[in-house]
Amino acid sequence: MTGPPLIEVENLRIDLDDGSRHVAAVEGVSFRIDRGETFGLVGESGCGKSITALALIGLLRRPLSIGAGVIRFEGRELQRLPAAEQRALRGNRVAMIFQEPMTALNPVSPVGRQIAEMFVLHKGKSWREANQLAIESLVSVRVPAPERRVKDYPHQLSGGMRQRVMIAIALACGPDLLIADEPTTALDVTVQAEIIELMRNLCEERGTAILMISHDLGLVANVCRRVAVMYAGRIVEERGSNDIFRACAHPYTQGLVDSLPRLGSRAALGRSRLKEIAGVVPAIADFPQGCRFNPRCARASDICRTAVPETTRLDAGGLVRCHHHA
């Protein structure tokens, strides 16, 4: 398929300005997602993945703002669109599901109404039609007894059910891009798998692209075709998800992979401690000079402490931002 990619981010910088200090929380972030593609954004808490997602839907609020860079949705520059048009995109063409299904639903409104509202808001349906469509949406996310469930309030549903309702709301208008911000972190492991499976199937059927944000490298690599690893506001490596475990180029990605527990490794290697990455993520205000990973990096040399590494294209495919990449 030709034409512009669904969403394209170029050199995005997000500024944090709380009056007294002015720092870049996210810097030089570029990536693109094609129609129907699955793309993952991985990183520790506070590395800037969630605010990058907020920037994509034009919802950064003070003290955060887009400092530089371009975000294009189907070739159109998002920042240049009038507010009303941006709003019409949200929920209709780009939807989002959140980490906490407990708090992402309005507690005083029946869930059916919350789904139906999407049809009224974006598709101009009457409430009668919308209520009918809401029931169908619940059927598609496999909620049992949907005719009765539409009248339930969020607190009457279990966590997994609520996340299903969230998915129903997000996919109600058939968006082109679904942003999933830690969609299963708050759920039981068994429910996690069901929800991920459901999300993936529904998006595949409808050709919806997924931007999945998570700290869980294993989960993201499982769902997404391509994965970008973020560290301290920069994308440090972008690879096909098949390659990332086998041959990661950036020492940070290597650290993430090594810190994953492997089933059966105890039998093979004997009882050993899980590897960890020494040190902690620096606070936004005191990001180190040069490569931001240098204080924690085993391969760090003098150049890492002075010069910001450029993005290099790897022969094996993918991008890496490191002076000493593998």
């Binding site: 839907i57 992402a104 309005n106 507690p107 005083v108 509202e117």
Partner: protein
């Protein structure tokens, strides 16, 4: 749904007051204004005169019954005006922040700094006594508390996941305010409104007592108390019955407010099975 005793008692008292006000012409024995008869002046309570009569020989029972109309109209209408003003200002101020928030905050502080009864007195002095001026005076002076509550609720609700989610899903500002914020703060606002109604009934009584509210000969509970104060030792029933009416209505409204607070919490709504 857990219906506590305070809700039942409060609701019953308030319902009784409404009932009496609505059906006053059928419940009253005599016309509260015209049926003066000096032959029965200052009769103590008896089978004929349930609550006694005043110095002009008017039936106190009938006057209390008709007085309910005025007291409740003032209480309900003025508090409704207060709730609408307070909620609108508080909600928009909390939501939009910036200069509008500063302005509303300043206005609220100003209103809180001036004792509302004094402010109402000043408005009454300008507009002159009467029901309409009472409604205006009390309706414009007691919204600051509602405004504070609405603003504080907005500030805390604004960061809730579902409000953020609504924004992400393309809801406009007005839709977020009406569908997401307002329903979630309605509980405390309704509680404040019922308490405020009680306060408005008292304020009406106070203003009428001071001669600035309802003018004699029309009966309101406050004006009746005002007229009765000279005879409080010789004819105590003149003060006791309107006083009791005020007391029971305000008590009912306060209990109702408490009871409503308990059930308006959506967590306590029953689980449908």
């Amino acid at each position: 749904m857990k219906i506590g005793p305070s809700l039942i008692i409060g609701g019953a008292l308030f319902a009784l007051a409404i009932f009496v006000g609505v059906f006053a012409p059928w419940l009253a024995h005599t016309d509260p204004v015209m049926d003066a008869n000096l032959m029965n002046a200052e009769e103590p309570p008896s089978w004929t005169w349930w609550f006694g009569t005043d110095a002009q020989g008017r039936d106190i029972y009938s006057r209390v019954v008709y007085g309910a109309r005025i007291s409740l109209t003032v209480g309900i209408v003025s508090q409704l005006v207060n709730s609408v003003i307070g909620t609108t200002l508080g909600l928009t101020a909390g939501y939009w922040a910036g200069w509008w928030d500063d302005f509303v905050n300043g206005l609220t502080n100003l209103m809180l700094a001036i004792p509302s009864l004094i402010f109402a007195l000043a408005i009454m002095a300008v507009l002159g006594p009467g029901l309409t001026s009472l409604l205006i005076a009390l309706g414009l002076t007691n919204w600051s508390f509602t405004c504070r509550i609405a603003r504080a609720s907005t500030l805390s609700l604004k960061s809730q996941g579902y409000v953020q989610a609504a924004r992400v899903l393309g809801y406009g500002d007005l839709r977020i305010m009406i569908t997401q914020l307002l329903p979630n703060m309605l509980g405390p606002i309704i509680v404040i409104a019922t308490l405020g109604m009680g306060a408005a009934v008292l304020a009406e009584a106070a203003l009428s007592f001071l001669g600035l509210g309802i003018r004699p000969p029309y009966p309101s509970w406050g004006s009746m108390l005002s007229e009765a104060r000279d005879q409080i030792t010789t004819a105590p029933w003149l003060s006791i019955f309107p006083g009791l009416a005020i007391f029971l209505t305000v008590l009912g409204l306060n209990l109702l407010g408490d009871g409503l607070r308990d059930i308006l919490d959506p967590q306590s709504r029953s689980r449908r099975t």
